[in-house]
């Protein structure tokens, strides 16, 4: 991705602020203290994306939201099964390790996390860039990481070659990935908006 250092810095600060906002929304929903920690941004080639979460055959839990409006693309929270259960515990305000299996309530809690994080994140992007972005309703999928990720990157594969990946964790206990994958045209629009901010 052809981003100047200054643009990358702005993107990084917007993404980090947006993540903080979404973690705050999540915290206020649960009356607990949920934080996203040390987010690291990187652009990755699409063909390596199916392997980022422990390899393509690793079973993961993905919370997926489509991005619509001025930008189009995909947003995904990706957790190992243990992390997904840990996140459910944080949401339910019980000690991490209590949830062992993702049941319907757990899945719906994770979907809600996606909703809150996704909306919080996109509102923050909107506020700072002036672009109007809306999330679709979330979908929660438990399956092989490769299968889930390739289904998303396939569409981007038509004209893009890289995706923005943010690695983060909740409260340092439940590591996960946050993937922001605008399509190529949207990435250009996002960069143009960043240039406007400069």
């Amino acid at each position: 991705m052809n981003l100047q250092t200054s643009e990358f810095d702005i993107l990084q600060s917007i993404v980090i602020r947006a993540l903080e906002d979404s973690a705050n929304s999540l915290s206020s929903m649960t009356t607990g203290r949920i934080q996203m920690q040390n987010p690291r941004l990187s652009f990755l080639p699409l063909n390596v994306v199916p392997g980022i979460a422990g390899g393509p055959a690793t079973v993961v839990c993905a919370v997926y939201l489509g991005i619509e409006g001025d930008l189009s693309g995909h947003l995904m929270l990706l957790f190992g099964l243990q992390s997904a259960c840990g996140l459910v515990d944080l949401l339910m305000e019980q000690p991490v390790g209590t949830t062992a299996v993702l049941d319907e309530i757990g899945i719906s809690a994770l979907a809600e996390t996606g909703n809150v994080c996704g909306s919080g994140f996109m509102n923050a992007i909107s506020d700072r860039t002036g672009l109007k972005v809306i999330p679709t309703t979330p979908a929660v999928v438990v399956d092989m990481a490769g299968a889930i990720l390739e289904s998303v990157v396939t569409e981007l594969y038509l004209n893009g070659d890289e995706v923005l990946v943010v690695e983060t964790g909740f409260n340092g206990e439940v590591p996960g990935h946050f993937l922001l994958m605008p399509d190529t045209d949207s990435m250009a629009r996002l960069i143009a908006a960043l240039e406007g901010i400069q």
Binding site: I148, N159, D161
Partner: protein, 164 residues
Amino acid sequence: MIVETLPVGLGELKVGSRPGQVLVCYGLGSCVGLTLWDPVSHVGVMVHVVLPDSSLSRGQDSLPGKFADTGVKAAIDEVVRAGANRSRLTARIAGGARMLNVVGAGTKLDIGARNADAVRTQLQFHKIRLAADDTGGTYGRTLQLFIDSGRLLVSTVGRGEREL
């Protein structure tokens, strides 16, 4: 026999011609894993098809296995070059799932069905018999082709394993 696992990544194509070789597509979602195998020479190929048609491409990426049309042709060429007899080849395919059912995302994410259709069409075009077809659904698949026996194993999360 030394087991040698050859992972076949997005858009890749790999040929196996030695006993002990196992060609693997890990975690197929909307992509289609295509295998061709010759039961006499025990030579086979696996392709990890990502998209239905090379005319869709706007990028410079030229992996032959990326598209159904270029992938099927390249698979036949490569496996024949490695010693397979074209008339004995049988094809098996798996994958082409719809992983994410999202309201509002339209049909854009159902590229899996289009991939599977495109691979079947190309096989017909090249007159290769399709012996087994395990496509569709909403779940991922890992595909392993054992070169010596031609055994093709499909594994899933929570839906067990089966042979094609």
